[in-house]
Amino acid sequence: MSETLTELSKSLLEGRSRHPRLRDLEHECDDVTHEIYNLTNRTFSAPIEPEDILLLAHALDEVVDFAEEVADKIDLYGIGEITDSAKDFGECLAKAGIELAKALGMLHDFNGLDPVLQNVHRLENEGDQITRLALQRLFEANHQKPADLIKWKDIYGLLESTLDECESVAEIMETISIKNA
């Protein structure tokens, strides 16, 4: 998941799509999610409640799916030049990915989890500010072609959804850690 977000951020910064790589990662993530589902079915006494495991796996899968969709749309829409806002947002996503990967490494004993998850919430707020500014710029520029308006509105929406899903992952981990406290 973290690798996917880093790849997406790189593709935004370089202004060229890494969509094939992202699609590969998405498929890899699907496989892992599937494996988790199977393992949950077969394991009699999982360390965390089965429904929480499935919820978490699903939310992580969503992050990767959204990230792949962003890159796909950049290709599909034939977007040549990436806006500064989208680049900033990509960096925010890459950071959130790193924090979540860190948090997932702490699931066995939940030690030090809280500050890491707080960072994800902070990054989500940062992302909101970036989108706000981006939309302001988008509509201020009166010379925008209608197609560009719709394309960028969609891409900013998808970027925001990707980060929102990161926050959902953090919330699910919080719930798990409360239950296992």
């Binding site: 706000r132 509509f139 925008q144 719709i150 719930t175 409360i178």
Partner: protein, 203 residues
């Protein structure tokens, strides 16, 4: 020693949910006022959103520190976050009206606002009597009815938008506002569904 079925900590959950219900209701009423008056009350909405965040946080902490909760822990967290979602979406709607510099509010948006105010009242009333779960049903049914009515309004509004408006920026802005108004109403329905699940689990 007399043992109470609902310990002090338990009572506190119902108090916090009552508080959250009041915040939902006030937020939706503020949003509606700003739609009817055609001027944004976003500062007030943001203030209410922060207050709701604070209550949600208190509920999380209480779950953390309470050994026996009156409702299952995960149901408490789910309900708190579904109420928080309503307030977040209402705040975002207010924010977008500012951000998009929308001055003339459409009749459909005003009508949607009035439905949201009513839904907020129902959510608050349901949360006011959450303990015991006996009187939930009429509120839940009313919220579903309001949601259906809201769907009809946004559907017509979006149809009219694409039939009559030619300016791309106007189209994109209003499509977004209608979607947000609808999402806010959907969040009310979602909260009603969570309350329903809780009442089934506690029957």
């Amino acid at each position: 020693m007399k043992l109470s079925l609902i310990p002090q900590g338990g009572r506190r959950f119902y108090d916090l949910f009552r508080k959250q219900g009041e915040l939902v209701s006030e937020t939706l009423a503020e949003l509606t006022k700003s739609l009817l008056e055609g001027k944004s009350r976003h500062a007030r909405l943001r203030d209410l959103e922060h207050q709701c965040d604070e209550v949600t946080h208190q509920i999380h902490n209480l779950v953390n520190s309470t050994f026996v909760t009156p409702i299952e822990q995960e149901d408490i967290l789910l309900l708190a976050s579904s109420l928080d979602d309503i307030v977040d979406l209402a705040e975002e709607t207010g924010d977008k009206i500012d951000l998009y510099q929308i001055h003339l509010i459409s009749d459909a948006a005003k009508a949607m606002g009035e439905l949201l105010t009513k839904a907020g009242g129902e959510v608050a009333a349901a949360l006011d009597r959450l303990e015991g779960f006996a009187e939930l049903k009429p509120h839940r049914l009313e919220i579903h009815r309001l949601e259906n009515e809201g769907d009809r309004i946004t559907r017509e509004a979006i149809g009219e938008l694409f039939a009559k408006v030619n300016d791309a920026a106007e189209l994109v802005k209003w499509k977004d506002i209608y979607d947000l108004l609808e999402a806010t109403m959907d969040a009310c329905e979602q909260a009603a569904n969570v309350m329903e699940t809780i009442s089934i689990n506690n029957a």
